[in-house]
């Protein structure tokens, strides 16, 4: 029966070849498109982690963004060193986040003021690479501010200009000081509502001793953020909370998961078109053999075996198509992973946001199982109708068909 189904497949070589190309192209497209989505998301995730979230964040348990002056972390340097001594931690940077106002003679804007130490931040985020025009300050420089391009435009300031930064100090007074614009910061995830300055300057402005809102950490390659989190929790006091970036920003994780599933759903609609093509071919293959099916049934072939045989043909076709598609995919994959796919030409916004514009293919279990599952599902669905039609034939009716 296996041999028979196999040979039936090759009765009309051109037709089968066409179906194979369709399945192969469908499978290959599915895998590569998924790899693109995933590659894009990995890229996006890396960018977000680099530019915004870090791998891990340490905060006071009671800390609330709405009350930025309460529950700050004291002795940031000690805490940072403690974190750096923890195996798996590659870099750490303390940031102090306060509400404030940046103004010129004519314009002003509310912002979140982010106080950093440049030499710490250089190791943790990609900010130092994304200052354009202007430059990221060196160690020891003070009284500078980095503004997002949109904010700079709104305030009508350029690199080198002076702005006034105001914030409410711990004692309730309002403090203001001059800062010069060192550069425009174009990092992903940082919107126009953020300005970056030296932490000491910000502490000074807010009448604070050394304090940070959170310690941002990067992990070493090969360890997962959650492994490092466990080690940190053992070392740090109970009042501190360590969270991975996924825990800190669960909606990012949700967006990433939804995008993957959404990608597969979208692709399954495309596959439906491929399946209809294969259905047509299989159906033609079956329709021209009704008489032969009549003979087989007259000899004693049971309808369910006939159904099985036609389904087997579709299974062969799908498997062969997948193998062919896998070869095609492999070729494209090798080239793609070597050279990457530069999206800069299609999306200037990515570069503007500070995103890496070269996307490399990526794959995960969902992608492999999903692609194989979908192609087999649609392949078998395409075989189901012809198989059902064949098995419903009455021998005498099938025999009456004259070719």
């Amino acid at each position: 029966m296996f041999k028979l189904a196999w040979r039936n497949l090759w009765r009309n070589r051109r037709r089968t070849a066409l179906a194979l190309v369709m399945v192969a192209a469908g499978f290959s497209f599915l895998v590569l498109y998924y790899a693109f989505i995933l590659g894009y998301l990995v890229n996006l995730q890396n960018n977000l982690v680099e530019a915004f979230t870090g791998d891990l964040q340490v905060q006071h348990r009671e800390y609330l963004e709405l009350k930025p002056l309460e529950h700050l972390l004291a002795r940031p340097e000690t805490l940072r060193l403690q974190a750096l001594e923890t195996p798996g931690v590659r870099a750490a940077s303390g940031r102090l986040l306060l509400q404030g106002l940046v103004s010129t003679a004519d314009f002003w804007q509310n912002l979140v003021l982010v106080g950093i130490v440049p030499e710490e931040e250089r190791e943790v985020s990609s900010w130092a690479r994304h200052v354009r025009p202007g430059r990221f300050p060196e160690k020891g420089e003070r009284r500078w501010i980095l503004l997002p391009p949109k904010t700079a435009r709104r305030l009508k300031v350029r690199v080198g200009d002076r702005v006034v930064v105001m914030t409410q100090a711990r004692d309730g007074t309002i403090e203001a000081r001059n800062f010069h614009v060192a550069g425009l910061l174009r990092a992903a995830g940082l919107d126009q509502g953020v300005a970056v300055l030296h932490r000491r300057d910000l502490e000074h402005l807010a009448h604070l001793p050394p304090r940070i809102s959170a310690l941002y950490l990067r992990t070493r390659p090969g360890v997962t953020p959650s492994e490092v989190r466990q080690r940190l929790e053992q070392r740090l006091p109970d009042s501190l909370q360590v969270r991975t970036w996924q825990e800190r920003y669960p909606y990012f994780q949700k967006i990433l998961t939804l995008s993957r599933i959404g990608g597969l759903l979208y692709l399954s609609i495309l596959l439906l078109a491929v399946a209809l093509g294969v259905l047509n071919i299989l159906y033609m293959n079956v329709a021209e053999r009704y008489r032969e099916f009549g003979v087989m049934m007259a000899i004693g072939l049971k309808p369910r075996y006939l159904r099985g045989m036609v389904l087997l043909e579709s299974l062969y076709l799908t498997t062969l198509g997948i193998l062919l598609g896998a070869l095609l995919t492999l070729g494209v994959w090798l080239l793609w992973s070597r050279y990457g796919l530069n999206l800069a030409a299609f999306s200037q916004g990515m570069e503007f946001l500070g995103l890496e514009t070269r996307v490399y293919p990526a794959m995960d279990a969902l992608g492999v199982v999903g692609s194989l599952g979908l192609v087999y599902l649609f392949g078998l669905l395409a075989g189901l109708y012809p198989a059902w039609r064949a098995s419903r034939l009455r021998p005498v009716e099938a025999l009456r068909i004259v070719r």
């Binding site: 032969e292 007259a298 000899i299 004693g300 021998p395 005498v396």
Partner: protein, 229 residues
């Protein structure tokens, strides 16, 4: 004892509101080992009658019993099984499976019976040798002449050692000489193996070769004559 019993068998085809009776109240018996021809002009109901006896079609009224089994009472799957184990078919247009070789075509019913590969091959080869095609085992149908294809079909019908072979106009697509050779082959197999043959034909020369002739006209039996062989 009767191998085939046909009682008041009627088959009416309906196309829309038009009813066409193909077989009308036919009753006869075929005994084990007979070599019987169903004769008559086209449209006389020969093929329909063979289809009903073979369980390929369902009668409108009446009963068919083959080897003691009432075919009317079997489901489609049971009918398929019954045909597999008790009947052999030879069709007018050979109806071999074109992607299989002569040997594989003959093996096919044995495959359905679940016979082992080695035994299948041995019996199929033997059947093809019996019909004089020992040299053509690995040819595909399109590489064989009409007469050779029909002999493959006979070998396929006989390989399961059925009790009854039903042949529908087996010589109709063959020239007179090839047709007669085929009928003599069937007659020899009937004599040597004791297989019962019931075949339809409208060819006078083939009718002459039959041991018993049942003549049909308009779906009714008009004559039933036995001859000494």
């Amino acid at each position: 004892m009767a191998l085939v019993e046909v009682r008041n068998l009627t088959k009416v085809y309906r196309v829309g509101r038009v009813e066409t009776p193909a077989v009308q109240g036919v009753t006869f018996e075929v005994r084990e080992g007979e070599f019987t021809a169903l004769a008559g002009p086209s449209g006389s109901g020969k093929t329909t009658l063979l289809n009903l006896i073979g369980g390929l079609d369902i009668p409108t009224a009446g009963e068919v019993t083959v080897a003691g089994v009432h075919l009317n009472r079997l489901s489609l799957n049971q009918l398929a099984d019954f045909r597999l184990w008790n009947l052999g078919f030879v069709f007018q247009t050979y109806n071999l499976i074109e992607v299989l070789t002569a040997l594989e075509n003959v093996e096919f019913p044995l495959l359905l019976q679940g016979v082992s590969a080695r035994e299948r091959r041995r019996r199929a080869q033997e059947a093809l040798e019996q019909v004089g095609l020992g040299e053509f085992l690995h040819r595909r149908p399109q590489e064989l002449s009409g007469g050779q294809q029909q002999r493959v079909a006979v070998a396929r019908a006989l390989v399961t050692r059925p009790r009854l072979v039903l042949a529908d106009e087996p010589t109709a697509n063959l020239d007179t000489e090839t047709g007669l050779r085929l009928i003599h082959l069937m007659e020899r197999l009937n004599r040597d193996l004791g297989v019962t043959f019931l075949f339809s034909t409208h060819d006078p020369k083939v009718i002459e070769a039959a041991h018993r002739v049942i003549r049909l006209r308009d779906g009714r039996i008009v004559e039933d004559t036995a001859r000494s062989s």
